[in-house]
């Protein structure tokens, strides 16, 4: 059945030599490459500006490789392969490697940023406005080398007057001259708002000692128009890498798990992303809340995936055999109708089925069954049945399509000689059609199993994993499969999402699906060898 390899070789060789490209083709190629190069140059400039030198270098390298391959004659296989390879690196390899890395960190709620970012935030939040202190109207001033602040201060006699201060000097009226409406400080220029915005980093770092009235306090502004007296509540010491709470003197040290923690176990937030080794994997296996429902959920996941493949394949096979019969009238119309469930987006179907299964108001109970109250989605077993049914409805057209295609590839002569040898239709199916079919269809059954093993959309939209299993400590339901359980666990945790744990689980699920797929593919290769 295969194309002669000799013929293939000569063809490849001819193409490899490149032939003579047409002028138009060359022009179009150059324009496209030019656009690509321009776009990449723009991107690389932005990346360098952001300080992402590694990414910029990578982008440069990729661009050069692309240009080299397409501008050179020959190298035809590379010309076909390179776009696919690049997209595979981005969408498959990178994502997989990144998830693998995340699984060994505590990335998630409370641990999103870096340590320096967390310290920076604590500097912002670790201070409070001095109670009962006044609001100050201010102006920002700039000299050749520093920023200063003019603040409107109520004097002892109750009259308001401008006072001037910088990072090094407390607010005082000494340097201020000019009128109340137009105060002047020698050597300094009052900034307008766009100049304030242009110097915002320096202005937000302006920390003027408050003087005698509020001894430990300082004056800060956040918008360049108003300033307030602040006092610190947390103090970070870079030398010892500790944070001290001013109010009670409690010292917090880096606990190596992405938090500053006190001797009493109290943690400061935000934390930061830290490498935690195998902690996520250990948690996945030892957490009481996971272990409880884990067995039931795993069994149901396998049952769901296997039954989904079997039922849809059986239906697809039956229909394909029926429609492959040339004496069948109106085949084309039926075929189109068959494919419709497959043509609708799966999530839409799931949501429509959900409302059709509604216990009191759903179409199935109200119209088809004439007003009964069958708890399709709130009874543990019925909900499982409903899910299998909907997946059956969604999946059989696919099986129908691939089986029909495979059936048509079976040579007529085989069936005819079988008939002459006196084989019954059942024998023809069992001994000739099915083995030949499985050669081409078995790998697709394996991928279908892998797909259903992680069929998050259907479960999430149809039942949300419910009805709840009231015995399970974790919020697991009777129809949860592994991936929806992981979702509930990783994204409903105390402080929000736990990407690290979710990644660890995805890796574990990958190993399960990977092992089964490997065994499945090996088995289908045996089938191939038999023929």
């Amino acid at each position: 059945m295969s194309v002669s390899t000799k013929e293939k070789k000569t063809k490849t060789k001819a193409l490899d030599d490149g032939g003579t490209p047409s002028l138009l083709g060359t022009v179009i190629k150059l324009i496209l490459l030019g656009i690509l190069a321009a776009g990449m140059l723009f991107a690389i400039m932005i990346l360098i500006g952001n300080g992402s030198y590694f990414v910029a270098g990578l982008a440069t390298l990729v661009t050069l490789v692309i240009l080299f391959i397409y501008l050179r004659r020959g190298m035809l296989p590379a010309k076909y392969m390179i776009p696919g390879l690049i997209f595979m690196m981005i969408f498959q390899v990178y994502v997989a490697v990144y998830s693998g890395y995340i699984a060994f960190t505590n990335y998630g709620g409370g641990h999103i940023g870096s340590k320096s970012g967390a310290i920076e935030i604590m500097a912002l939040t670790g201070q409070e406005r001095v109670p009962e202190s006044p609001e100050l109207t201010i102006k920002i001033l700039q000299s050749s080398d520093e920023i200063g602040m003019l603040a409107l201060i109520t004097q002892d006699d109750g009259v308001k007057a401008w006072e001037f201060g910088t990072n090094d000097s407390i607010l005082s009226p000494e340097k201020v001259s000019g009128t109340f409406e137009e105060p002047v400080v020698d050597g300094y220029k009052i900034l307008n708002f766009s100049e304030v915005v242009a110097n915002q980093d320096a202005i937000t770092q302006l920390k003027i000692p408050a003087g005698d009235e509020y001894p430990s306090a300082y004056v800060l502004t956040k918008d360049g128009s108003y300033a307030y007296f602040y006092q610190p509540t947390l103090a970070y010491d870079p030398e010892t890498d500790t944070v001290t709470r001013v109010t009670d003197g409690m010292v917090f040290t880096d606990n190596a798990d992405g938090n500053f923690q006190s001797a009493t176990g109290e943690k400061l937030f935000p934390g930061w992303r830290a490498d935690v080794g195998f902690a996520n994997f250990i948690k996945a296996f030892t957490d009481e809340r996971i272990r409880g429902p884990f067995l039931g959920v795993t069994l149901w996941t396998f049952a769901f995936a296997i039954l989904s493949v079997l039922t849809t394949f059986a239906m697809g096979l039956g229909l394909a055999l029926l429609f492959n019969d040339k004496t069948f009238r109106g085949r084309k119309i039926y075929r189109v109708a068959m494919i419709l469930p497959y043509a609708f987006p799966g999530f839409l179907s799931a949501m429509i089925w959900r409302s059709m299964f509604n216990e009191k108001y759903g179409f199935i109970n109200q119209v088809i069954l004439g007003g009964v109250d069958i708890p399709w989605l709130s009874d543990a077993w019925l909900a499982k049945l409903a899910i299998l049914f909907v997946n059956f409805w969604l999946g059989f057209p696919y099986m129908f399509l691939i089986v029909l295609g495979a059936l048509q590839a079976i040579p007529e002569e085989l069936m005819e000689s079988a008939k002459i040898d006196g084989a019954t239709p059942w024998q023809q199916l069992r001994l000739i059609k099915l083995p030949l079919l499985l050669v081409s269809v078995a790998p697709l059954l394996v991928t279908s199993f892998a797909f259903n093993f992680n069929n998050f959309t259907l479960i999430y939209l149809l039942t949300g994993g419910g009805p709840k299993n009231i015995d399970a400590g974790l919020n697991a339901g009777h129809t949860d499969i592994l991936i929806t359980l992981v979702y509930k666990l990783a994204f409903n945790a105390g402080e929000g999402s736990d990407f690290g744990l979710a990644s660890a689980f995805s890796i574990l699920i990958f190993f399960v699906v990977g092992t089964i797929s490997y065994l499945g593919f090996r088995r289908s290769r045996t089938l191939e060898d038999m023929n």
Partner: protein
């Protein structure tokens, strides 16, 4: 866009080499063109990230905090939902006219999740959201504190306090909302004297297709004295469950005894049909359905009442406050702070937001203009008891256990006291992590 503009932009980019620093030129074209230019830059940047196969999440905020002294008009990016975005346009235009800084209003359907997931470099400057996000956002270090100063006096005190977390103010509120009892005048011409009256008139409470709705059910639960978390003397929520004691068990028992009131098959759409057909006369719902009532029953065809007590004590609802917050990753914090405090926090912008969203204002001047609105005044009065929904991170662990346990009790899946006790244990275990 004219060609010279574009050339200048490219030159500037080449000089500055920054992440999309766009100088808006004098006599610049329409806003939409500016946005498309911005989008072009963003697309290029995004594709660069994608093409090079690496994200910028590695960056720390400090590293990306490169100063932008040479460029004085880095635009502010504001994330909001689609309802509030139109109400921000006037303030954004005013801000641009006064300061020359353009404001990009970006509508997001998943503001909270996107904001948490966004890498520092892609974080917006300003974000509009609900006060109960604070726990998550603050513990992730995503918000910078604001200081309202004397302008706080222009707001309903409770709304300002809702945005106070761990002693810091993180937002300027613009609306607060709470649920109440909305009845057709046909079914309930005057305020109901007892909970039984409401049941007799046909009480609807949406249970989200049987997944439960503890948010609405809370107004019944609190009438048994079972608050979700205990409050300390300052009114802040602690992470100790208030519904663990006998009050919670009493509510669980009541739920079982009155299971027939609740319809596990319904959802918001079904309840609307039941209200229209007259099957149900009263619905425990919030101001977001006020416009629907006005449309279908007319201003005089429905009334808003306080929810009568089911368990003997006054019914308390959750109140949710929405407001404007400042991202800790903003590279333009001074301009963003000014925009939030002086523009969005001002009376004019607050009135605009009220008029375009119809949501009950938190600003006193806006509240004054809203006092003739049936929805704003009615729900506001009925929610006099309302308590802010807890913002502490522990709250995330509560919702799903709470809802599914209530559903299990209504379905009769076991002894209510056992189920409720198990729920309390599960929630405590989840909070402990």
């Amino acid at each position: 866009m004219t060609t010279p503009d574009f050339q200048r932009l490219l030159i500037e980019l080449a000089i500055a080499g920054k992440s999309i620093p766009i100088q808006v030129l004098k006599g610049a074209p329409l806003k939409s063109t500016k946005r498309s230019l911005f989008a072009l830059g963003a697309v290029a940047a995004a594709s660069a990230l994608v093409l090079s196969g690496c994200a910028s999440t590695e960056e720390t905020p400090t590293e990306s905090a490169a100063p932008t002294q040479t460029v004085d008009a880095t635009p502010l990016t504001v994330w909001s939902d689609e309802v509030e975005a139109p109400g921000l346009e006037a303030a954004a235009a005013q801000f641009e006219a006064d300061t020359g800084i353009p404001v990009n209003l970006v509508v997001k359907t998943e503001v909270r999740n996107d904001f948490v997931a966004a890498p520092a470099a892609e974080s917006p400057d300003v974000v509009l959201g609900a006060h109960d996000w604070l726990g998550e956002l603050v513990s992730n270090g995503l918000l910078a504190p604001l200081e309202l100063g004397d302008r706080a006096a222009g707001f309903v005190a409770g709304s300002i306090n809702a945005f106070n977390y761990d002693g810091q103010q993180y937002g300027v509120p613009y609306t607060q909302e709470n649920i109440a009892l909305a009845c057709t005048t046909e079914a309930m011409p005057s305020a109901p004297a007892s909970f039984q009256d409401v049941v007799d008139a046909g009480l609807a409470i949406s249970l989200n297709d049987g997944t439960g709705d503890p948010y609405h059910m809370y107004s019944l639960q609190t009438s048994f004295g079972a608050t979700v978390f205990k409050q300390d003397e300052t009114g802040s929520y602690t992470s100790e469950l208030g519904m663990a004691g006998p009050e919670g068990l009493a509510f669980a028992q009541w739920l079982k005894d009155n299971a027939n009131i609740f319809d596990l098959s319904n959802n918001g759409d079904i309840v609307k049909e039941q209200m229209l057909s007259g099957d149900k006369g009263c619905w425990i719902t919030g101001p977001w359905n006020g416009a629907w009532f006005n449309e279908n029953f007319g201003e005089d065809g429905w009334e808003i009442y306080t929810i009568p007590s089911a368990g003997g004590q006054p019914s308390v609802q959750f109140s949710g406050v929405r407001g404007v917050m400042l991202s800790a990753n903003s590279q333009n914090a001074v301009a963003a702070t000014k925009f939030i405090v002086d523009y969005l926090g001002g009376d004019a912008a607050q009135i605009n937001l009220y008029e375009s969203t119809g949501r009950i204002p938190s600003n006193l001047a806006a509240l004054e203009t809203a006092k003739d609105s049936k929805i704003a005044a009615g729900f506001g009065a009925a929610g006099a008891n309302a308590q802010p929904m807890p913002a502490i991170p522990a709250m995330n662990s509560v919702w799903s256990f709470w809802g599914s346990t209530e559903v299990a009790i209504i379905k009769g899946d076991g002894d209510p006291a056992t189920l409720w006790t198990k729920m309390v244990e599960d929630i405590n275990a989840a909070i402990a992590g």
